[in-house]
Symmetry: C2
Subunit: 207 residues, 2 copies
């Protein structure tokens, strides 16, 4: 996996003592680079420190463990979701939102995240599931909430649809089919989910 | 975990050469017993053979690997779902079905299965996710299908609700909230899911 384009800036010369955010950025980039070359199993704190042209202590001071470091590096690299789509109809808004969530999960960092979950111990996997939740699922639900609330305002969505089970339906279904069927959620799969599951769930009675 | 009550029959005397199903039953019981005492990590094919009062060869002949043996043992021990509930209304039928699925996942073998998934390598975990799918999820979906079809016949459910996204909604939501929130699906949680997600999804338009 080529992660060279993740690096934000070239490594500074050894004589420059970096501080704060610049050093942290270099360490996180080195972690992503190591993930891309040697993977979770091959990644070491020493290797990351060397890659960031700093000492081990600078790494451990900020990230006590390998999973803390890699979790932060991936969280920072995940694509940010754009704002809630507003295309004039809830069907189109939901589709646009699902495409964004899919893009995040199948982005380079999203794929790296899923690879790490596959490689690490079960005791560490929870940390990385947390990165998926904080970095993709929770932002998606927040935007779903906005789209659905706007739909209620437009009379496209029944007023009692603004509840946690409705908001969770899309992330739940996307994760389920991803895990159980290896689904990669094509545009057609997303449309089917919206048309067969979400629209019937959201439309007002008698619509 | 006390798995002594899983044993179907007492171990026969050493002089009796057992064959076929009886020997297999003894081996599977010994595997469950080992899981209960030393867990996935401590379980060995030799230990299982000794517990079944047989030789290693008899075990390996039928189960080439540790995960094949433990997967079969747990699959066989999982409670069977009863038939599709028929309580006169789709809400009650769905609730009864969800309680059965919950009982299977939180049964002794279901909990052992989830513990094994937690302890084993990621390369082995897929095998055990398969046991959950084959042993609990797929039978549940089959019964959901019957309940929903009966509801369509009674006019309680819209005719176009008989599709894969609707059938998957319950397993997807139960697995999602179990994983993301550690939900143990109380009766109240099940009722909320049925009332807030399933009934609006299933009811005919204008109902």
């Amino acid at each position: 996996m080529d992660t060279s384009r993740w690096a934000a800036a070239p490594a500074p010369t050894a004589s420059l003592r970096r501080r704060g955010a610049v050093l942290e950025r270099a360490i996180l980039d080195a972690a992503l680079e190591q993930l891309g070359t040697v993977g979770w199993n091959g990644l070491t704190m020493e290797g990351v420190a060397a890659g960031a042209q700093t000492g081990k202590a600078a790494v451990y001071r900020r990230w006590p463990s390998k999973e803390d470091l890699v979790a932060d590096a991936l969280q920072a690299a995940l694509p940010r979701l754009e704002g809630a789509p507003d295309l004039g109809a809830v069907r189109e808004d939901l589709l646009a939102l699902c495409r964004q969530a899919r893009a995040a999960m199948f982005s380079l960092p999203g794929s790296a995240l899923r690879a790490v979950i596959h490689e690490c111990d079960q005791s560490q996997a929870g940390r990385f599931h947390g990165v998926i939740f904080d970095g993709v699922v929770e932002p998606t639900i927040k935007l779903l909430r906005e789209v659905i609330t706007r739909g209620i305002g437009r009379g496209e969505v029944r007023p009692d649809a603004a509840n946690g089970y409705v908001f969770d339906a899309i992330p739940a279904m996307m994760m389920y089919r991803s895990k159980m069927c290896g689904s990669e959620w094509s545009d057609r799969d997303l449309e089917e989910m919206i048309d067969l599951l979400m629209l019937p769930l959201l439309r007002p009675e008698g619509a």
